[in-house]
């Protein structure tokens, strides 16, 4: 009870004799002191509050915060982008890297040609169906922690070419995107703004809960396949279920396929996802109306 701020014992003068003296205690002080002690026995909320204030817990949090600060400062000040240009936006990306806009001021000037050495993938341009397997593969090859910046209208949602038969409407259908930069193409200033936004995002991360220090390796994005059109492997069970509906697959074949590579590659849990079931229903309706 050394924490109690109220003085309990009267100070003994330096010249006092050494024999034991019974101290006199003010009854009011004794009363407050007794009730203070009793709170530790009865009042749980008070105890919890005292524990949360206790030195050990706050020190650990502050330690993590300090480590986070240094760790995040290091990461956000040396983001190495992948040297990877897709289309028109890549030209503005190069301009950003050149002397006038000088992306190196923000520590992101070292463009690495290899995904193994890169932290940031700037998807700078139209994502086409023919290219998207390679982009996903590059993304899978990048080590964690990794970030994706979708530069421009095309990478974000297909842009002016959205309707095209060879255009994917946005890279976020396959890769998790951290920052979207609008524009067609975004000016170098806009790209720098996106980079600063990414740095703020990194500042907000903590090593306590980032995904890449987990026990298991992170799942890879399944690389889409170029068939008669782009085939997203995550949709394969639904595609096969539809083929079975049409009679192109027997139930046994379907079961074998779902159990095989197709089922394993897909992220869906048994049967058809709700969205796909809805689409399937509309599609059946359409087939029926066509006779």
């Amino acid at each position: 009870m050394a924490d109690d701020p109220t003085p309990v014992l009267a100070p003994s003068p330096a010249s006092a004799p050494t024999r034991f003296v019974t101290p006199t205690i003010d009854p009011d002080v004794l009363e407050s002191w007794t009730s203070y002690v009793q709170r530790f026995e009865n009042d749980e909320a008070f105890i919890q509050g005292q524990i949360e204030q206790s030195v050990m817990v706050t020190t650990f949090d502050r330690l993590i915060k300090m480590v986070d600060g240094v760790y995040n400062w290091g990461r956000r000040s040396s983001i190495w982008p992948l040297q990877f240009g897709l289309a028109c936006c890549a030209i503005e990306m190069i301009s950003t890297a050149a002397s006038r806009f000088d992306i190196d001021r923000f520590g992101a000037g070292l463009f690495r040609p290899s995904p193994r050495q890169a932290d940031l993938m700037i998807v700078s341009g139209t994502v086409t169906k023919k290219m998207v397997p390679q982009i996903v593969r590059l993304w899978n090859q990048m080590p964690e922690p990794r970030y994706c910046l979708s530069m421009g209208a095309c990478a974000t949602g297909g842009g002016p070419f959205k309707e095209g038969y060879n255009v994917v409407s946005g890279i976020d259908q396959f890769i998790p995107v951290d920052i979207y930069v609008p524009g067609c193409p975004p000016t170098p200033q806009a790209l720098l703004h996106g980079l600063i936004a990414l740095q703020r995002k990194i500042d907000g991360q903590s090593i306590k809960n980032v995904s890449w220090y987990g026990r298991d390796p992170l799942p890879e994005v399944p690389v889409p396949v170029l068939g008669p059109d782009l085939v997203d492997l995550r949709q394969l069970p639904d595609i096969q279920a539809r083929a079975a509906e049409l009679g192109a697959l027997s139930p046994e074949e379907l079961a074998a396929m779902q159990a095989g590579a197709g089922g394993a590659a897909a992220g869906t849990e048994g049967g058809i996802s709700a969205v796909m079931a809805e689409r399937l229903a509309i599609w059946r309706e359409r087939v029926a109306s066509k006779g």
Binding site: Q83, G85, L86, A87, C88, A90, I91, E92, S95, A98, R100, P113, G125, T126, T128, K130, M131, Q134, L138, C154, P160, F161, K162, E163, G164, Y165, N166, V167, V168, S169, Q173, T187, L226, G227, P228, D229, L230, V231, D232, L233, Q235, L236, D238, I239, Q240, R242, A243, L246, G247, A248, L249, M257, A261, G262, V275, M276, R279, W283, R286, V287
Partner: protein, 583 residues
């Protein structure tokens, strides 16, 4: 080493058509538009006669039109001495489309025929390597056929029908595409082939035994894939190299990684709606691309362009040419291994040019500035003083600087001289254009050969170099920047006041039925637009003859026998822009 020559004028197309008609008689007919029409069975004979007897040694453009009852394959032939192109057409039925290949007469037809096959499914008999070029093998459908529709967009034309047909708002993608994305799988697709080895069709077939035979040190030949993610391929471009040690035995360019359906979208857009898309073709030389399209439609509509607008166009296009050549020289040095420092110096002036573009048009890159009959906005007051300083003082110094550091640099000469040689005959046969053709000593520049705009008013020369190697193409670019500067110095003081847009501003133009092939000299070569109108609000056929795409036909020829490191330099000297290669 560069020489400056003038081009002699060639005979008018009408005279040639008359002479051909006289020589070949029954086998060719002349249609209303002055085009020669020939049946597929006579095509080879007629084309050979045109090339050998009438001097039409240059295949400018090759494309097709789907008329729903037949396919029409259209060839634009011209002479490397200059002159307007002659149109040759042949038709084939839609059920079993088949036309003889011109590969044996014009090797430059190689990629263009493959593109027509890819987009229309027309088979070219006798083509040695007929497979898809922009899409992948196995893609279902022939996209540019008129009865083929994409997943997101099933209407034939824009403007769209109302998005509120029942007082209800919807987006295109919610309208049901089967799998919630922009894909269109066949109904009973099972995905059964996934995970199995791919069929060999469309792949580079490697015969190991054949590879082992005839190698110099008893070593195996290797097939190396360069790209599409590679720092020196200028974008998403792939090359399959067959190597004997370090030496290139064979090379196959693989493209289409940035094919974004320019032509299909262009055929649905309104005429004016295509203008911003042309910017995104060659995104380093945007204004030249716009000019080509504006020129094509203006000629179809018979529009006059006001004097001031013509001058503005010339100034913009030549500024564009200079900044584009700066860019390509900087990145050629990048490819040679001088990473980024020469580029930084080279693109210093480019930023100033882009600032001028932003001032005049509102955007650094995607200007959307030209209109049918003129330009969109007049130049702002602050433009002229700045451009005068740039043209009269800064630009000259910048070119001199690049010239002084690079042209006689020992390492640069060692890496570029004698590498990637293309003879003039082959350069013409492969239909190359721009600095690649002029670097081989052929003085062919569309501004002089088939004049457009007001280039005939200025005193300038066509720059050529005779060696045909990487260094010659570099030297041509340096020379062309100086010639562009010369044109700018004449054009700026002469600039008249007055209107900038003939006629009245209109959202929608009416283009009379007909067809036209217009071409301009873009920094990378002859950029052509072939438009067919049926009198409706949209182009019936909209084709872009891309200089980079056609120039790549000669890449394999240039690279054979050189080392892998030279391939990078040769590709850099062609200076491809993937937006234009893949469209």
């Amino acid at each position: 080493m560069t020489k400056q020559t003038d081009v002699v004028a060639a005979p008018a197309p009408a005279d040639v058509v008359a002479a051909v008609h006289k020589q070949l008689g029954e086998r060719v007919t002349v249609d209303d538009g002055g085009a020669l029409v020939v049946g597929p069975s006579n095509l080879i004979d007629v084309v050979r006669a045109l090339r050998d007897d009438h001097g039409l040694d240059y295949l400018a453009n090759l494309t097709a039109v789907d008329w729903l009852d037949r396919f029409e394959v259209v060839y634009h032939l011209c002479s490397s001495a200059g002159g307007a192109p002659i149109v040759l057409k042949t038709t084939t039925d839609r059920a079993n489309p088949r036309v003889p290949s011109l590969f044996g007469i014009y090797p430059g037809a190689d990629f263009q025929e493959r593109e027509v096959y890819d987009m229309f499914g027309i088979r070219f008999a006798g083509h040695p390597n007929l497979k898809r070029i922009l899409m992948w093998e196995g893609f279902a459908g022939w996209p540019l056929r008129k009865d083929w529709r994409e997943a997101y967009f099933e209407q034939e034309h824009k403007p769209l029908t109302s998005r509120w047909p029942d007082g209800q708002f919807f987006f295109g993608e919610d309208k049901l595409t089967d799998w919630g994305s922009n894909t269109k799988l066949p109904p009973a697709y099972t995905g059964a082939e996934i995970g199995r080895p791919k069929p060999q069709e469309g792949q580079y077939v490697v015969d190991i035994d054949a590879l082992r035979r005839g190698t110099s040190f008893g070593s195996d030949r290797l097939v190396v894939n360069m790209g599409p993610q590679h720092p020196s391929t200028h974008g998403v471009f792939q090359m399959r190299l067959v190597l004997d040690g370090e030496t290139v035995v064979d090379l196959e360019p693989v493209m289409g990684y940035m094919h974004r359906n320019h032509e299909k979208i262009g055929e649905r857009n309104l005429w004016l709606g295509n203008m911003p898309f042309t910017d995104r073709l060659d995104y380093i030389a945007q204004l030249g691309s716009e000019w080509g399209y504006a020129l094509c439609v203006e000629r179809m509509m018979g529009l006059e362009v006001p004097e001031r607008a013509e001058y503005i166009r010339v100034i913009m296009a030549e500024l564009n040419r200079i900044q584009s050549h700066f860019w390509s020289i900087g990145f050629l040095l990048n490819d040679l291994g001088a990473f980024f420092t020469p580029s930084l110096y080279a693109i210093e002036e480019r930023e100033i040019v882009l600032d001028l573009f932003e001032m005049a048009t509102g955007s650094r890159l995607m200007c959307n500035y030209m209109r049918f009959g003129g330009v969109a906005y007049d130049l702002p007051d602050a433009f002229m003083p700045l451009v005068n300083v740039l043209v009269n003082e800064r630009m000259e110094r910048a070119i001199d600087e690049i010239d002084a550091y690079l042209t006689n640099n020992e390492i640069v000469m060692e890496r570029m001289k004698g590498v990637g040689v293309l003879t003039p005959e082959l350069a013409i046969a492969y239909s190359t254009s721009g600095p690649v053709l002029r670097g081989s000593g052929v003085a062919y520049d569309v501004r002089r050969a088939d004049p457009y705009g007001i280039y005939d008013r200025f005193d300038w020369n066509v720059v050529t170099a005779n060696e045909g190697d990487v260094y010659a193409r570099y030297a041509v670019r340096i020379g062309e920047m100086r010639e562009s500067l010369k044109i700018l110095r004449q054009a700026l003081p002469q600039m008249p006041a007055g209107e900038i847009l003939g006629g009245k501003k209109a959202w929608q133009v009416r283009v009379p039925a007909g067809e036209h092939y217009a071409r301009v000299e873009n920094p990378r070569g002859e950029l052509g637009y072939y438009c067919v109108s049926d009198g409706k609000a949209n182009p019936y056929r909209y084709h872009v003859r891309s200089p980079c795409f056609v120039n790549l036909t000669s890449l394999a020829e240039m690279c054979k026998g050189y080392k892998v490191a030279d391939v990078v330099a040769i590709l850099g000297s062609i200076d491809i822009v993937l937006g234009e290669v893949d469209r």
